[in-house]
């Protein structure tokens, strides 16, 4: 709760906005800090929107931004904070299997076989995709190295001063094939927050605004929640295929318009599939496209995860990626891409529901 409150206050200070003006709250992944409690703690004058993106863990990060935007656009609320706070040490880590005596439902179909952590649940999806399209380990390595490369410019990053080399990646232990140690995100405590208001109100605030040009939430046909993910008909997918046409149509843009992308790395294999599904390259082009020089600021074809992302900046369940997408539009990134007008943030590949937001500068309106 303290971390969450500090993040919200910091976001308000950054925006130049009185925290008591907040009248809406949007989060995801069953955040422990509920809006009524936060509204009381902050002395908010009124609570008008109390929202949780249901299911999908980190796949709800962009969804929470989308829900907040929808609330403002429809007049349900005027000033919505999107937030996520984690205190894994106190409440249990995602990367540890549950120590229960019995399990039932979907968990009973996977845990007794030793499939009980996210790396183990999502590995078969990436494995099948790489098999189908002849994609090698080097593609995953380049994604991991892009995050670590960018973290070297970011003093806030946990991996600042701890660069990753090809040799280190290749020598690192397997976690769950095809994921090496460096293909997996870490876990840490922390909190993050973004403030959303109408475009008109944003003009009066301290920072140059980032505009929400489009957003989409969801998944395709019969995509099962994580423990039964093996049963999903389209297994080898990050589950953005049905969202992406809606996303680009809403924004009136296409993949060629995207200047910089933040692509949620729970595991690098999910980044591989989500970049394909967002139209940046065909599966057959993946090995060619996913080379470090193409993925890094300032001049790569598609710089990704420019703060270091989940792998190397910090694990704020992907909300740090939404914030970095905004920084890129403001020209405030530590690995700034020049002249950014369209900034993409992808949330939670391989889960359901997943989500994406396209942010734009004033020039894109």
């Amino acid at each position: 709760m303290v971390l969450c409150l500090r993040a919200i206050l910091a976001a308000c200070e950054d925006a130049g906005l009185d925290p008591r003006e907040i009248d809406g709250f949007a989060s995801y992944s069953n955040d422990r800090n509920d809006p009524p409690t936060l509204a009381v703690a902050l002395g908010c004058r009124e609570l008008r929107f109390s929202n949780m993106q249901w299911e999908g863990g980190g796949g709800g990060g962009a969804g929470a931004v989308a829900n907040a935007s929808a609330a403002i656009a429809t007049g349900l609320a005027d000033c919505v904070v999107v937030y996520r706070a984690l205190a894994q040490g106190q409440f249990g880590r995602f990367g540890q299997g549950p120590q229960l005596r019995t399990v039932q439902g979907d968990l009973a179909l996977s845990i007794p076989y030793g499939q009980m952590s996210p790396a183990q649940w999502y590995a078969p999806k990436a494995m099948r995709f790489m098999h189908d399209h002849g994609i090698g380990q080097e593609a995953l390595r380049a994604i991991a190295m892009a995050s670590y490369h960018h973290a070297q410019f970011n003093p806030r990053a946990i991996m600042y001063g701890r660069p990753l080399t090809e040799a280190m990646y290749d020598a690192s232990r397997w976690i769950s094939e095809p994921f090496h140690l460096y293909d997996c995100c870490q876990e840490n405590d922390g909190a993050a927050a973004l403030i959303l208001v109408s475009a008109e109100r944003a003009k009066d605030l301290k920072q140059s605004p980032a505009y929400v040009l489009g957003a989409a939430i969801g998944a395709g046909f019969r995509v099962h929640s994580t423990p039964a993910g093996f049963a999903t008909p389209d297994l080898a997918s990050s589950h953005f295929k049905t969202l992406v046409p809606r996303l680009y149509a809403m924004a009136g843009l296409g993949p060629a318009d995207v200047d910089v992308a933040q692509a949620y790395e729970n595991f690098t294999g999910g980044v591989l599939m989500s970049l394909v599904e967002h139209g940046f390259f065909a599966p057959e082009e993946a090995s060619e496209f996913l080379k470090l020089e193409n993925l890094i600021a300032p001049s790569g074809k598609l710089p990704i995860n420019t703060s270091g992302g989940n792998l190397a900046e910090c694990y704020m369940h992907g909300l740090e990626l939404e914030i970095e997408a905004v920084r890129q539009l403001r020209g405030q990134s530590t690995a700034q891409v020049p002249d950014v007008n369209v900034s993409l943030a992808i949330a939670g590949p391989m889960v359901t529901p997943v989500s994406t937001v396209l942010f734009g500068s004033e020039a894109t309106l």
Binding site: Y113, Q120, M127, H131, S176, H224, A231, L235
Partner: protein
Amino acid sequence: MTSRAYLPAGLPIPVPERNGLSAPFWNGLREGVLKVQRNPRTGVHQWPAQWIAYDDHGFDLEWVAVEPRGRIHSFTRVWHPVHPALREACPYIIVVVELPHVGGVRMLGNLLGDPRQEVPIGAPVEAVFEHHPDAEPPYSLLQWRRLDSPAAGAR
């Protein structure tokens, strides 16, 4: 009827939900029979268990025995244990098995045999019922063995 377990004891024991939704599946495994749900009107198979047929929304799904074989759709070999019972058990192999003769439903299990074996995607496999009669409560797991090569190695 005791079969050697692929993974060590101490992992959570699978039990049917209190509402009994998937009890026919778990009871079937104990009898060495693989059962999935089928829509009696359309013949469409479903797995995992649901209350309703997704194709015509009937609530009268039936449980049918199916031939316990399939092909490897994907897999992972786990090297990092995330449960105390698995500390000495790595590596082990988890396979996603597709059952083409059952409408392509997918099931999970471990691939028996050498945990360091090559795992060819598409390879045919047959089910092995791994019984735990002395567990409390007793249960059986669905495991898989390659049909196209003799199971090598210790496990």
